[in-house]
């Protein structure tokens, strides 16, 4: 069983400051996306339950996104191999471009199961998984909250808006996962060390038969501004009773208590 897990290096959103309503992205640390960690954990559990198989983590990233570290973290969690697609001047334009590159990487690597996060931490478009599936011509199952291996395929329990659905599909199939599927493991120091020795292949666009024109954006972001917030920032000190008292008094004064 050949499992590909697609992991993106996401900016640490908690570190993004807003300045004049603009997000300051300079010097922001990057890390494995939350949902991608869920996908990796799901892959590990599937592989281990099946008693064999290979997990390859695939990442497309601009050079400055600390992608190798991301991949090493995933290898430390338990992926077997990693593929990084990058290029010095690469600027990944949009989800269609990302999907094209990832699909080519998948073709090069070979696959039975393609695992994605339901959305990436920063964009959360949910586009990349379905687009990759379409390019490769494989069926897809979104929002998995449980994946079990079957003979030659998977059974997926997925969480839709109002329903739980159980679906079955033979390989190859693409699956995106939601966060309740599992609690991703935190790699131990020893596994982090060992991860350094696991294979990590680096491809350029040319290695995948693509070039800069393959990643041209099909859309433009006209503006990206924070909504304005003006808050009072009043803190109540003292013991819990005093804090409670002050808080309730403030609410009374605001007139938000009672009807």
């Amino acid at each position: 069983m050949n499992i590909l897990v697609f992991v993106k290096t996401n900016p640490d959103l908690q570190m993004i400051r807003i300045k004049d309503r603009q997000p300051v992205m300079e010097a922001i640390p990057y890390k494995v996306g939350d949902l991608e960690k869920n996908a990796v954990e799901a892959a590990i559990q599937l592989r281990d339950a099946a008693g064999g198989g290979t997990i390859t983590a695939v990442c497309l990233a601009e050079a400055n996104r600390r992608a190798k570290e991301t991949l090493k973290e995933v290898l430390a969690m338990g992926a077997d191999e990693a593929v990084l697609v990058t290029e010095p001047a690469l600027e990944v334009a949009d989800q269609a471009a990302v999907a094209l590159v990832l699909a080519k990487a998948a073709e090069k690597t070979g696959y039975d199961l393609l695992l994605f996060g339901e959305g990436s931490t920063d964009n959360y478009t949910g586009q990349v998984g379905p687009r990759v599936a379409e390019i490769l011509g494989v069926p897809q199952i979104g929002y998995a909250r449980k994946i079990t291996g079957t003979e030659g395929g998977v059974q997926v329990e997925r969480s839709m808006d109002e329903h739980i659905e159980v679906l079955e599909a033979p390989f190859p199939v693409a699956v995106t996962v939601v966060s309740e599927i599992n609690e991703p493991r935190i790699p131990s120091l020893m596994n982090i060390m060992k991860a350094g020795k696991k294979p990590l292949a680096e491809y350029s666009l040319a290695d995948l038969g693509l070039d800069a024109t393959s990643v041209v954006a099909q859309k433009a972001i006209l503006s990206n501004l924070a909504e304005e917030q003006d808050r009072k920032h009043i803190m109540f000190d003292g013991d819990p009773a005093a804090q409670a008292e002050a808080f309730v008094n403030a609410l009374l004064k605001e007139g938000v208590l009672g009807r």
């Binding site: 400051r17 300045k19 010097a27 640390p29 600390r66 190798k68 570290e69 131990s188 120091l189 020893m190 982090i192 060390m193 350094g196």
Partner: protein, 429 residues
């Protein structure tokens, strides 16, 4: 037990510098850093002297993410009711290669960690080393999160308090009298405003130090460094002085008070605080440098007491980088001999002795003692400002001759027994 050539405890500048040297020579090295990433919690005032270390890793400094080269020096002596600012604009400082740059550690250390990884070194973050593993007095590795990892040599670069190394008996427990506390804020300001306020050309930077009233007469001072689009503003106060202060000062309020001073307020006007931090600084000087090596280990950077507070300059980052460099050299040579005993690693101390690191610390041997004199932080800044004030005063009656104004002030505040004694004591620094 899994084993590597070298484990480095702490991914600050000392640890990263050692790792870079070792990885460049192909040794298997892992840096273990407890922060989310290198630089996440590391505190510095903000100025790295590159001149002393330029030749150690010449390729590194060309692409390093410095903020601004320091081309202008300001010193403000703060008196009550008057203060004096000296501005030094030296053409030499404004010509490359620059002797010092302002830096922001979050950015700088992360970049440095990347360089280490480029060379094949491993930087493991979000992991804390819990213990050093000792066997018959020899350090044989570390324990972290339940995993034991062995190493031929462990370089301990855990920063100023040196808790692991003291716990393992490799150095003394930290004492308050040998430390100062630094409180610092990073305040965002537009580059144009920064250049206007400190008379800079685009891209150039200033260092601005404050002596006198900043710290209520406690040993210490204030510093301000200009970054690309922010300033690093802070104060440094002696821990012991603070403990013994007549009226107990809440250390946090010192920085707030400092910013409210009429001399400082216009400098930070309109800025947004984006980061606050506090950190200890070693000030014991050479007298407090512990034994730097032993069987299977080396101490580097602040852990080794390698920092210098010489009133107008705080240095530690250059020492940290240099000590990491020499530590790496020593380990590389020891590896060649396949001998990691104290005798083999003694080379480390020798290199530090023949380099600027221990030489500069030796030169500054008497500074820690001298700056314990509170008058340096009270009397002198006031006296200079008083004198300057008199020089520029034209009163209602006839003015005195300039020379007698000056001599009067000098006689009153400088030519007395105590001052002369102090000046005599200062000859050593």
């Amino acid at each position: 037990m899994e084993k590597v050539d070298c484990i480095i405890v702490g991914g600050g500048l000392a640890g990263l510098s050692a790792a870079y040297g070792l990885a460049s020579e192909g040794l298997e090295v892992i840096v273990i850093e407890r922060g989310d990433y290198s630089g996440a919690k590391n505190v510095t005032g903000g100025r790295l002297y590159v001149s002393p270390i330029r030749d150690l890793y010449p390729e590194l400094w060309k692409a390093a993410p410095f903020e601004r080269p320091v081309t202008r020096e300001f010193v403000t002596l703060m008196g009550d009711g008057a203060h004096t600012t000296i501005e030094l604009a030296s053409e030499r400082f404004a010509t490359p290669a620059y002797q010092s740059y302002t830096v922001l550690r979050a950015r700088f250390d992360q970049w440095f960690a990347d360089q280490v990884m480029e060379k094949g070194g491993m930087v493991i973050t979000k992991n804390r080393v819990d213990d050093l593993l000792l066997e018959g007095g020899k350090v044989i590795g570390i324990r972290a999160g339940g995993d034991d990892i062995g190493a031929d040599v462990t370089i301990i670069a855990e920063g100023v308090l040196g808790l692991l190394s003291s716990k393992a008996g490799l150095r003394e427990e930290p004492r308050p009298q040998d430390h100062a506390l630094g409180y610092k804020e990073i305040i965002e300001l537009p580059p144009g405003v920064i250049q206007d306020r400190w008379h800079l050309n685009e891209g150039e930077g200033a260092a601005h130090l404050f002596m006198g009233g900043v710290t209520r007469g406690l040993m210490g001072g204030g510093f301000l460094y200009t970054n690309k689009d922010s300033i690093s503003l802070g104060i440094v106060v002696g821990m012991e002085a603070m403990r013994q202060a007549p009226d107990k000062v809440d250390s946090y309020t010192l920085l707030d008070e400092f910013k409210e001073l009429p001399q400082i307020k216009p400098l930070v006007e309109g800025g947004t605080i984006v980061e606050y931090s506090a950190h200890a600084i070693a000030e014991g000087g050479i007298a407090k440098v512990p034994k730097l090596y032993g069987d299977g280990y080396l101490l580097a950077g602040d852990t080794a007491g390698l920092s210098l507070n010489a009133l107008v300059t705080v240095r530690g980052m250059d020492f940290a980088i240099a000590s990491g460099y020499y530590a790496a050299r020593a380990v590389i040579d020891a590896k060649e001999r396949d001998d990691f005993t104290a005798a083999s690693l003694a080379q480390y101390e020798q290199s530090l002795r023949s380099s600027f690191v221990l030489k500069d610390l030796e030169t500054a041997r008497y500074i820690p003692h001298t700056i314990e004199n509170p008058r340096l932080f009270t009397h002198y800044p006031q006296a200079v400002s008083n004198l300057m004030e008199q020089v520029f005063t034209i009163g209602p009656g006839p003015s005195k001759k300039l020379s007698s104004t000056v001599m009067g002030g000098v006689r009153k505040d400088f030519l007395n027994l105590q001052t002369l004694k102090e000046l005599y004591a200062m000859r050593k620094i």
